[in-house]
Subunit: 285 residues, 2 copies
Amino acid sequence: MSAGRIRIGVVAPGGRIEPALAEKLTALAQAQFKDRAPELLFHPQCFLSSGHFAGNDKTRAEAFLDVANDANFDALWFARGGYGSARLAERVLAGLTDAARHKTYLGYSDAGSMLAALYTRGFQNLAHGPMAADLTRDGGEQAVCRALAYLVDRAPETLEPSVSPDHPSAAFNIMILSHLIGTPLQPDLTGHVLMLEEVGEYMYRVDRSLQHIVSNADIRKTAGIRLGRWSPIPPNDPDFGQTEEEVIRHWCAVSGIPYLGRADIGHDIHNKIVPFGRFKPRAAA
Amino acid sequence: MSAGRIRIGVVAPGGRIEPALAEKLTALAQAQFKDRAPELLFHPQCFLSSGHFAGNDKTRAEAFLDVANDANFDALWFARGGYGSARLAERVLAGLTDAARHKTYLGYSDAGSMLAALYTRGFQNLAHGPMAADLTRDGGEQAVCRALAYLVDRAPETLEPSVSPDHPSAAFNIMILSHLIGTPLQPDLTGHVLMLEEVGEYMYRVDRSLQHIVSNADIRKTAGIRLGRWSPIPPNDPDFGQTEEEVIRHWCAVSGIPYLGRADIGHDIHNKIVPFGRFKPRAAA
């Protein structure tokens, strides 16, 4: 851990990013944070391409470990989602060293598979929030600056409003969490406020995945569910007949999990930070 | 159970069908089986509509129980898939009587959720195979006649070629099985040959669901996996870089589950019958 400017290593366990994005991000961080700007180091793996992925499984896992196990990095920032984290989880878990425990990991969507995997190993500084590739969204500067403000300062205004030091939280994309259920990577969310978001999925599919998630006995031990944004939802044919909030309320009622209202997270520029577990301000982090 | 013509009750736990389809099926069964033609009784629920579903959850569950619990029916035939079986499972399991155990259940795709639920309760005559709505496919007569020949005669030529009285089998749609993992409806497939099929899903999604399925410790107790058809697969962007058989071989290798080759099942008119458990010829059924 460095005392002055923090060092952030960027890796891409799912899809690749363009080198131009890395340059834009570095310039933006400099402009925004001036002499406190974090050093952003993009692992060359971010720019590789192997079919669907930013390099093959071995290459992506090694890149992840290069950053995770390097004590000179304060944080590992996921470059983007897509698909690919889960494929690396077993290899990454087997290769982690103690240095990996002393840094912050930030990402969402597909990255949730890796955050879950690390959470099963007791990692303390995992967070669901914007990734490097969010800069490509309209107005994406605010998303990536929020991510950096969290990584640099643990700035409280970056947090999802219900996050608190008083109770543990976690956040997941619905499809990603559904695919962790019943596997060794399913995190223990007992007592957590669980926030769920989705993007671009038909209502019937999200309904199906929510039933799956809440049918798991361990998920029923969460303190409650908050609903992030599900946008955009493609039109169902025929119309599904229920709104997204009716659907989540239905599955909470069926499973006996308290429904706690909305969460300010989603696949958009307003996506707030949700630390896994209890939020720890910078001094205590 | 009746001695002469068998009686088949048709219900629609997922999407609805048109009354015209029922008429066409009845005429086809008559033409094909003459004086041995099964009596096809379509529960009026098949034609209802409630948003995405053929009636609301309560109505569909009651229709299922009307047929399942009626000793005058020899078989319950799923009208079609879509989505909806899983939503009924808990209600149906709670309402089943002993009469329900003495009939055959035939369906696939979404119906797999209900077949799994019944299999967890030790039901003996469950099978993965064509449904009434397959008649709407080009050449669909052969699919529905195969289903009827199985229900009427347990005709051996209707069976998927690897099915045998010597080992247990089971077949599922990949998405459907993925959504059962880690829930009370996950069937015990220890020692089974597990056949998997898919339709209309991107490769990355099927890859993700296969990883999910084979990561479950109990699924690793299957005797092996056979790959049914995955068609059509929409183009991945970028190209996924692996064929469907490479993907299944990968996940079998990772999980230590033997890959046993292809299976003659899928969302098409060639979909053969896979009884759950060991195949029992009619005399022994």
